[in-house]
Amino acid sequence: MRIRPAKSFAELVDFPKSLGPVPPGATEAHGTTVLALRFDKGILNLGDRRATSANFIMYDKAEKILSLDDSTMVAISGSFARSVEIVRYLSHAFKYYARTQLQDMSLEGKLQEVSRALSGNLSMTMEGIGIFVPVVSAYDEVSKKFGIYFYDAMGARFESGAFAAAGSGSERIRGVFDYITRSKGPFDTRPLEDVLKDGMQMLDIAAQLDSATGGLEHVPPLAKTLTAEGIRRVEDEVLASAIHSVTKAG
């Protein structure tokens, strides 16, 4: 046992070297469309369940919405292997900080750590693989406010107002967010059931226009909510009724 100054979790586990190399030209599984939408009591994250590799469908039960801690949730798109590994790193980094420093990491600190993890992954993304783009939903326990943040592959952070989307299907539906805001009012004033229906509709449209996005019927999308109380999966019945209302209307 030796005396040493407080160190970061990155130093402890030698991140990002701990990620290991990926040979150029390797094929990898990709996650596709994910959405983050505000509702009156928090943030809803929705993701289809499809993971693709080139033109193969690798998997139809992928979980693309993961929690970093009780007040931070991340929706991932892009390289599946890298993103799951980096999410593991981040959730451990947050826990490690809280336990060694005996205080929770601030929201700013957490967002910064996400940026750093992404730029640590950069050497990989230069090879054209391992690129992933997260959408972070966070609740700030100090200011009692919710925020949605999206990143580019280099780690630049952008705060988004009431909605964000990432993945191959997301470009097809970006305009729809604005349309819904203008026609139905801001997302953060509407109840979860309504916002969930809108989100399902957008996923359905993305699935129609993007072959890599799974639809609603085969395997239901994954939906989780972040509120002041923590992170929860949306109940199956609520999910089923939202899906039903969308597919019936279509």
């Binding site: 046992m1 005396i3 586990v13 701990s18 929690s67 593991r88 790193y89 451990h92 826990k95 336990r99």
Partner: protein
């Protein structure tokens, strides 16, 4: 040149020195109940019960700096293990047995350095109270495994008195309030160092309860919280 006799003599003196300094420590009680694992103590200014990992908690009697360095070593080891393998693979047995016990033993036997003044209690929450584990770790690296409940105190005699009470009164079905009041009673027995029926005034003065729970039922990521 240090002869074997000198070494033995000085180790003996070190043990005496450490035990004298541990005597004034406030006892800690750990109970596994349906709600989770409860760690209970009274403390003055500085916090005494800490989270080590998802299902692991820790409290200790001893010198602040030693407690802190043991705590950080445990936290480091647990997080390295949890990150490179899986959260499930981090167990209290490995933290205490592999990461802490031998360095403590080495520090105790190395008569050229200051010894660790510490008597620690580690807790691990599992699926049911019957599976809950407690590890008591002593300043010389020796450790003991206990199931369901355990306690540490300033002297072995006090620990014995506390254990006798725990054996007769512990019930895994207890609710949180019952567990808290049992722990309080056991603490008072342990804090009564001269066994004259009264708690040492030096321990009680300006002290307040510190109770932490590793919550078995919560759906939240963080299981550890102070009550």
């Amino acid at each position: 040149m240090i002869s074997p006799y000198d070494w033995q003599e000085s180790v003996h003196q070190r043990a005496g020195y450490i035990e004298a300094r541990l005597r004034g420590g406030s006892p800690v009680i750990g109970l596994g109940i349906t709600d989770g694992v409860l760690l209970f103590t009274y403390r003055k200014q500085v916090r005494k019960v800490y989270e080590v990992y998802d299902r692991l908690a820790f409290s200790a009697i001893g010198q602040q700096a030693d407690v802190e360095s043991l705590r950080l070593t445990a936290v480091d080891f647990a997080h390295q293990e949890g990150y490179s393998r899986s959260e499930e693979d981090v167990t209290i047995g490995r933290v205490v047995g592999f990461a802490l016990s031998s360095p403590l033993r080495r520090a105790f036997g190395d008569i050229t350095t200051a010894p660790f003044v510490i008597n620690a209690l580690f807790a691990e929450m599992n699926r049911t109270p019957a599976d809950d584990l407690f590890f008591k770790l002593r300043y010389d690296g020796d450790f003991e495994v206990h199931h369901q409940y355990a306690c540490i105190a300033g002297t072995p005699e006090a620990e014995e008195r506390m254990t006798t009470l725990l054996v007769s009164r512990y019930d895994p079905q207890m609710d949180l309030d019952a567990a808290r009041s049992l722990a309080d009673e056991v603490w008072r027995v342990g804090a009564d160092r001269d066994a004259d029926g009264t708690v040492d005034s030096s321990l009680m003065q300006g002290a307040r309860q510190e109770v932490a729970l590793l919550d078995r039922r919560t759906a939240r990521e963080r299981k550890f919280r102070h009550l």
